[in-house]
Amino acid sequence: MTNQFIKEVVDKSYAYGFVTPIESDNFAPGLSEEVIRNISQRKNEPDFLLQWRLKAYQHWLTCKPPRWAHLHYPDIDYQKIIYYSAPKSKKNAPKNLSEVDPQLLETYKKLGIPLHEHEKLAGVAVDAVFDSVSVATTYKEKLKEAGVIFCSFSEAVQTHPELIQKYLGTVVPYRDNFFAALNSAVFSDGSFVYIPKGVRCPMELSTYFRINAANTGQFERTLIIADDHSYVSYLEGCTAPMRDENQLHAAVVELIALDNAQIKYSTVQNWYPGDEEGRGGIFNFVTKRGACRGKNSKISWTQIETGSAITWKYPSVILQGENSVGEFYSVALTNHRQQADTGTKMIHIGKNTRSTIISKGISAGHGQNTYRGLVRVLPTAHAARNFTQCDSLLLSSTCGAHTFPCMEIKNPTAKIEHEASTSKIGEDQLFYCRQRGLKEEDAVSMIVNGFCKQVFNELPMEFAVEAQKLLEVSLEGSVG
């Protein structure tokens, strides 16, 4: 009976599966040098960027898709994907929110991300990316006063080409992997953030990614630079319509923290996960990496991964600067036929560098959840420290949890700790809660939330509550 119930909990439906009927300007499916030139031209890009895209494309042609992950999916036909789709607007680019298509504003409102000036999320600046382009960025003026640059990637290319040229591809080079090469060739938009020296960003920054058009891929690129003694907290959210076919999302995120700078990057990923039988859903192949270039710098990744049919992502930190700190906090939930292969890489280069990894995997239904982590301590990283804790919670007898931790220690002064646990949600725990009068549904979510608490504690306040709710929805009907 308990099993039946947990199944019901996990089976709740996806609330963001609607499609916005909006006219869009699409390229024909397929990828070629021509397509890349067209994207670049459409965006009126400087030549250095076009040349970079073309080099990435040439490299991509020589790459094979990675197959080492613990994931099963059919080959992706890259010629069937539409590489550029933008909502048709009356004007080329909306100058302010009053020029944004009302239907788009309505879409974001439905998603809980109001963009209207008068009902914006308090204290959070949002950049909204719809298919291939950014449609709106809120609180721009206020941020400008603080000297913070927060805009769409395309806009940054026009207004700050020197920063793009200086930093783009320096953390994730286009040669990094198959999907990074593809993204570098065809990326259409994304967000750009620059926090100047000594500035503590006055509000949370956030990007909301929405895939709408059918058969398109979303290839966005985010670049965040925190200059000396600065601080920024950034949040990313994602949803997509329910469709029977799979859609590809291949993003690249690069973070750069200079001396004494701190970047906190949080993700609530809720792409459409596919249906109960595993039809449809987003293929999420993402490369996220931060470089702690400066001394005493800190980069912290927090991710709540509840969506996507396939998740392949390893937000990593390169700890170059002395005393720099890298953190990775993750909750990954796989339900139905979802598969996630996620984890992190902590590369210790500088002296006294420290890293913390807390990973919580929850598997339900037929979900397969894999933690894959690398802790590498180079000979230069004197007195490096790492603590890894990786816990798995199983909610059914048909799901799976897998752990592939890897450590390469080349300096004898390093201190590395690894803890791991796997447990099945206890009949005992459920019975105990129910005996005290809790409904079974509330008991499951209480136990799961307790399991994830360490990670939720790392989320910005505004989103911790969201994340808990999201987990409850994603879990409806899941134990069995």
């Binding site: 009949e427 105990y432 809660c433 005996q435 005290r436 009068g437 079974e440």
Partner: protein, 251 residues
């Protein structure tokens, strides 16, 4: 209040073997009574306590249980809790990451909701729980830890009785609450239990030892062996057991 007739219970083990544990238990408890159930290991005492609370690993194959005119066996565990059935666990369960105070308040408020009472807010609840904690001599720091996680045996049992004091059930079932306790903890727990005796609330006290019954004085003592109640009497029966053991009952 509670009328149990001809209760038969079995369990299926991992090898799918069906094992009968209780075969024909009859028991009637009136409001305000304290019934002690004693018996050797494996006699079915704990099973009996868990079946009343609605643990679903056991299968009831025959008999019925009426609790204030409700067919108890037809109800889910949370529905039984709402009617006022409370089980103090022999081995209280740990719930990592869930704050004890949050757990206690959620439990209390979900019961209040069923009774159409407004939920207690954090301040009112804190005042209430602090009073109750003093009764079982429990340190307030246990409010801020995860439910039972890293609690000692005695602390876990105090936490059980604390929940009982908060939820104010109609029928309190104590499943070997005395096992593994030192004298101080035993007295604190007995004090808590006795404070709930109001002439209406009933108790089933499952125990191996008569020691607990020095502090919680029963109206009736039952001896359970091999899945049946084989002898009932007043509190002197418990003393007799203490003296002679269970062996003499077999003959």
């Amino acid at each position: 209040m509670l009328a149990i007739k001809n209760l038969h219970v079995c369990i299926q083990d991992e090898k799918e073997q069906v094992k009968s544990i209780l075969h024909g238990v009859d028991l009637t408890i009136h409001p305000g009574e304290v019934h002690a159930i004693m018996g050797p290991n494996g006699s079915g005492k704990s099973t009996f306590a868990n079946v009343l609370a609605g643990r679903d690993q056991f299968q009831v194959t025959d008999g019925n249980v009426l609790f204030n005119d409700n067919d108890l066996l037809a109800l889910q565990p949370e529905e039984r809790a709402a009617l006022g059935v409370f089980l103090a666990f022999q081995y209280p369960i740990e719930i990592p990451g869930v704050n004890n105070m949050y757990f206690l308040r959620t439990a209390l408020n979900s019961l209040r909701k069923i009774k159409n009472l407004p939920p207690l807010d954090a301040m009112d609840f804190l005042a209430l729980v602090k009073t109750k904690m003093r009764e079982v001599q429990m340190d307030e720091k246990f409010l801020h830890r995860a439910v039972n996680e890293g609690f000692s045996g005695g602390e876990k049992k105090r936490n059980e009785v604390l929940q009982m004091l908060l939820l104010e059930p109609q029928l309190c079932i104590l499943d070997e609450t005395d096992s593994g306790l030192d004298v101080d903890a035993l007295q604190a727990i007995a004090k808590g239990v006795n404070s709930l005796r109001d002439g209406k609330r009933s108790f089933i006290v499952v125990t191996h030892y008569q020691r607990l019954l020095d502090y919680i004085v029963p109206d009736v003592v039952h001896i359970m062996a091999k899945g049946k109640i084989i002898k009932s009497g007043d509190k002197s029966l418990a003393l007799e057991i203490e003296e002679k053991g269970y062996g003499w009952l077999d003959s």
